[in-house]
């Protein structure tokens, strides 16, 4: 679904078009029709100028879908251009089906994240399933074999039955699709907040691997070359809501059409194997997935990218329903289809391979050199427009933005105005926090995903980043998705930077080198200046964060209108990061591995309770200033972690973030049921109270488990990299004991572990 | 040859616990339908076929139900067959 991607293709020079070009013909489409399709009167005029004639009904329809927010990014494109997209490792940046980065030895990794928010709100199972299907296709379209899925999910609270229904359906949908296709779902995140009752967010990231010479792109080149449609047949599913008003739809079609698409993971698996076989046998010149805007998008984008034109005969499109009209065929969003330009003369071989996999294949047209996309049926020319105008010339708007009033108001909240917890209450508070929606174990979710199929999952879900081995090699890739929506709500730019920092840290904790980023920008209505401000700030923060870590953005998508008219979701710029490990055997897990190890806290703990889980859980307050993003400290930590992993110093390593040190230490203990005795006195460099040491969410911190004999070398390495390292205790026993300056608390690992593990399941059962 | 429409219903044998049915019943009870005694889920399959007469059609549907549509280890099936007259 490349149309949804971040685009950077010299748009500006095309923006204005031939200003005074003569407009041929008469207007044949009524204003109410183009308005019903979502085009403004100005946009209609723009189209006339761009193509030098009055478009007919089908042409207006094609422009309306290509110029929709979903495909054209007309409200976000100018801001997205601020993202860094170039880097040494980037083999393919934004503008294609997926980004690709080099991981050495002629190997590369293709990856991308996309949202499927609105469909999942309407039909949770199919919405999430087809979201998975779309992003998986984006990966194998590039020639890559998908080897991992991650799914960041954002839901309303579990005390509402509708939210529970959505959670249940979304998780089952992702499982149902990914498990059947046989791609392990190795990670993701889930975050719960009231704002997502309005509109849940379902973001899905897929990752694949390939050799450099296997990269295929969505380009149609070579006049006379055939264009083939492969995979499923074309039906009336998913034809967009804007078209309901259209008089052109037959009554029968109205009745049979479904706005919800149904995913077919079995067909996707066959299509995946068939496409990779086509690539392996070198039969593909160019290929693109059919997603949003179906054939309209795939034909115009492939032609435009190749600097070509295309002639398509709709009679040749394999259909699953009778009596489909051109409008329906061009706009159908039937799933599991691909448009392909085969190597000339190999059409027969291509068809044979697709037949072997029980899939349809049909030549539906050919590439031309005139730059025009021509659609015919029964010999009549139905549409004739310049492909690049359709694919690339959508207007890009500057939207008004203004800082929302709440930002300064909530940002000035001082957590010290609240009563401090008593020392005797701390153990109970930690237990309560460990069983809260955002901090509890997500086992209920990831145990429904096959996270091991493919025999490559080295670090499984439940820790920090996942690590997957690239088949047939000893290389690994580390994968994570991150964002703290509360930080982004309180301080969007800092929140986005912190999301990049958290992702980079988690990747580095496994021993991997952070490489590149994909993202989903989930926001409310962009016409609201406050929402647009948050969106813009999120992108700026993402850009700054990515510059700091040298991790370019290779793609992603934007999802606006996540609101009910009044309440919008929190600005949610979800980050997906990929890192590489040259020796996957050296991958470092989280969770204490054995008794008797030394525990070292890396990084300083400051008075940073703003926007914390502690405030939210214990006081129901979402306010204050989120922790500060400290670029120098984060960078130093990452270079330290990479070296420490390479030296084999780390038995385990764990991020210290939401919920603070208390939760990080507890999670480490729960990993393998090994307790610890910890004293934070030496680490308290800012003179904090005990509870603040426990719950502060200062970033650039990590907990490292090291063999006692290697502790000194680890400390030396920390000094060399300019990071603070504090020896804080030893692993062992079945209790987690934490002391500081004469105060102490004790937790029974097994007991707390029980409620940590069961919390989500119990909440979803309505208990 | 005439056209027939067979409607095949496949259900778990009565002796076998149907966890989906139990879950649906639990849901109904919690919605207040306290008179619901039991729920069983099954599969409904429509087969369009051509045959010389209804007896032949029935024989074919019986055969494919046994061979593929139902697994007699755990399921049972029943069906109806009706001639379809072209519109």
């Amino acid at each position: 679904m490349a149309a949804k991607d971040v685009k950077d293709m010299g748009l500006d020079k095309k923006m204005n078009g031939p200003a005074n070009a003569a407009i041929k013909g008469e207007r044949t489409v009524a204003p109410e029709d183009w308005r019903a399709m979502g085009l403004t009167d100005e946009e209609y005029d723009m189209i006339c100028h761009r193509i030098g004639k009055h478009p007919n009904f089908l042409e207006v329809a094609m422009f309306s879908v290509m110029w929709s927010e979903h495909c054209s990014y007309k409200n976000s494109r100018k801001v997205l251009k601020l993202l860094p997209t170039k880097g040494e490792c980037v083999l393919q940046g934004p503008g294609e089906n997926a980004g690709i980065v080099d991981v050495g030895d002629g190997l590369a990794v293709a990856f991308k994240m996309e949202s499927h928010n609105h469909p999942s709100a309407v039909e949770p199972y199919q919405g999430a399933a087809t979201g998975s299907g779309g992003i998986i296709r984006d990966i194998f379209t590039m020639g890559a074999r998908p080897i991992a899925i991650l799914d960041p999910l954002f839901f309303g609270p579990t005390d509402d039955a509708r939210n529970r229904h959505i959670i249940d359906g979304v998780v089952a949908g992702i499982a149902g699709y990914g498990n059947a296709v046989g791609i392990p779902t190795v990670g993701g995140m889930s975050w719960f907040g009231k704002c997502y009752s309005v509109n849940p967010l379902v973001n899905v990231m897929c990752v694949g691997y390939l050799k450099h010479d296997e990269i295929r792109r969505g380009k149609a080149t070579g006049a006379g070359n055939k264009v083939m449609l492969i995979g499923s047949t074309t039906g009336r599913d998913g034809i967009h809501g804007a078209t309901f008003a259209s008089a052109d739809l037959t009554e029968e079609a109205q009745e049979r059409k479904s706005a919800v698409q149904v995913g077919d993971p079995f067909r996707e698996k066959l299509l995946l194997e068939a496409c990779l076989e086509l690539v392996a046998k070198d039969l593909v010149l160019g290929i693109q997935d059919l997603g949003a805007a179906g054939l309209t998008c795939a034909t115009s984008e492939m032609a435009s990218r190749g600097g070509s034109g295309m002639r398509v005969e709709l009679d040749l499109v394999p259909k699953r329903e009778t009596g489909m009209n051109p409008y329906e065929i061009m706009l159908s969003e039937s799933q599991e289809r691909m448009l392909m330009v085969p190597v000339p003369g190999k059409e027969g071989e291509v068809t044979d391979i697709l037949r072997k996999w029980d899939l349809d294949a049909a030549v539906i047209g050919e590439v031309t050199d005139c730059g025009t996309l021509t659609i015919t049926m029964h010999g009549d020319v139905l549409a004739e427009v310049p492909a690049d105008q359709l694919a690339e010339s959508a207007p890009a708007y500057d939207r008004e933005y203004v800082k929302p009033a709440y930002i300064d108001e909530l940002g000035s909240f001082d957590p010290d105005t609240l009563p401090a917890p008593k020392d005797g209450e701390l153990a109970g508070i930690i237990e309560k926090m460990a069983a809260s929606a955002n901090l509890c174990s997500k086992h209920w979710i990831y145990s429904q995903y096959d996270h091991q199929v493919g025999s490559g999952t080295v670090i499984k879900p439940g820790g920090d980043a996942a690590v997957v081995r690239i088949p047939g090699t000893n290389k690994g890739i580390a994968l994570t998705t991150d964002v703290n929506p509360r930080y982004c709500y309180l301080y969007p730019r800092e929140g986005a930077k912190l999301a990049v920092a958290e992702a980079a840290r988690k990747v580095a904790l496994t021993g991997a080198k952070p490489l590149a980023v994909t993202n989903c920008q989930n926001h409310g209505n962009p016409m609201k200046p406050e929402v647009y401000w948050s969106f813009r700030e999120s992108v700026l923060g993402l850009a700054e964060g990515c510059e700091v870590f040298g991790t370019p953005v290779t793609g992603g998508n934007v999802s606006f209108y996540n609101e009910d008219g009044e309440t919008a979701i929190y600005p949610t710029p979800t980050i997906g990061m990929v890192g590489s490990l040259d020796d996957v055997e050296k991958a470092v897990p989280s969770g204490f591995k054995r008794s008797g190890s030394s525990i070292v806290l890396i990084g300083e703990t400051k008075d940073e309770l703003g926007g914390s889980e502690y405030l939210s859980i214990m006081h129901g307050i979402e306010a204050g200033r989120p922790p500060r993003f400290d670029a120098a400290a984060e960078k130093a930590l990452i270079s330290f972690l990479t070296e420490a992993a390479d030296e084999g110093f780390m038995l385990s390593a764990h991020d210290c973030a939401e919920g603070g040190l208390a939760i990080a230490l507890l999670e480490d203990a729960l990993g393998n049921g090994i307790g610890a005795e910890v004293d934070l006195s030496d680490a308290n460099t800012h003179g904090l109270a005990f509870w603040k040491m426990l719950f502060s969410e200062s970033t650039a911190r990590a907990i490292i488990e090291v063999e006692p004999v290697k502790a000194a070398a680890l400390q030396a390495l920390a000094r060399k990299n300019g990071v603070k390292a504090f020896y804080i205790g030893r692993t062992g026993g079945d209790k987690l004991t934490v002391r500081m300056a004469g105060k102490s608390l004790e937790l029974d690992v097994k007991k707390v572990g029980g409620s940590y593990e069961k919390a989500l399941e119990s909440a979803l059962a309505g208990r | 040859m005439k056209s027939y429409l067979a409607k095949v219903v496949v259900t778990l044998k009565p002796s076998i616990l149907d966890p989906q049915g139990v879950a649906v019943r639990t849901g109904l009870l919690s919605m207040g339908y306290s008179d619901v005694d039991s729920v069983r889920l099954g599969k409904f399959i429509e087969v369009r076929l051509k045959a010389d007469d209804e007896a032949a059609a029935r024989a074919m549907v019986d055969e494919i139900s046994k061979k593929l549509l139902a697994n007699l280890v755990m399921e049972r099936y029943e069906f109806t067959v009706a001639e379809e007259v072209a519109k």
Partner: protein, 233 residues
Amino acid sequence: MKIGIVVFPGSNCDRDIERAAEVVGSESGFIWHKDKDVRGYDAIVLPGGFAHGDYLRCGAIARFSPVMDAVSEFAEGGGPVLGICNGFQTLLESGLLPGATLRNTGLRFICRPQKLRIDNVNTPFTHLYKKGEVLDFPIAHAEGNYYADPDTIKLLEDEGRIVFRYAEPDGSLTEASNPNGSMHNIAGITNKTGNVVGLMPHPERVVESILGGTDGLRVFKSVMSWCGKGGVR
């Protein structure tokens, strides 16, 4: 020694079996489901996945794939055949093994490590294990709830044909250790002659310590040594 891995449309653990074979040093090859011949292979594995989408019933359509006649013939001739997860379901549907699998009692797909007790070490795939040993194989299925009529269960018990059972770490059989509601905690069984074995858990996922364990290695080593010695232990 060459292991034949049957690939149905929708199989997705085929490459994992290939990797397991590589780890134990066995040759392997893929057999497309439309092939009618399994000659040249010493053992056949039906891998996990969703053959034909599992849309009607797990394994129901796969059993009618052309290759299954050859697999049956191979099994009747005493050749070692292993069905894992969806492969096990296909063996059940085809009648090479008795019984059927129902939806998990919890209704959800479950992917997690699972303790198993091994009760039959006389098969080509288990002879390197010790009877009563407790192993850790992952499970990953939504329909693994083993069912057979009481007479069949009695026969399986009497003839010692239950190969793997879901168990506690100490080997005891409890309801809590049964992840899916299977009768008699059955995770895997064998046929009368002991050469066809099927199980829901995935031994091929625990053949390398980097992937979380090596308990499954001996499944593949067993069949290698079995075949290497001409079909005897």
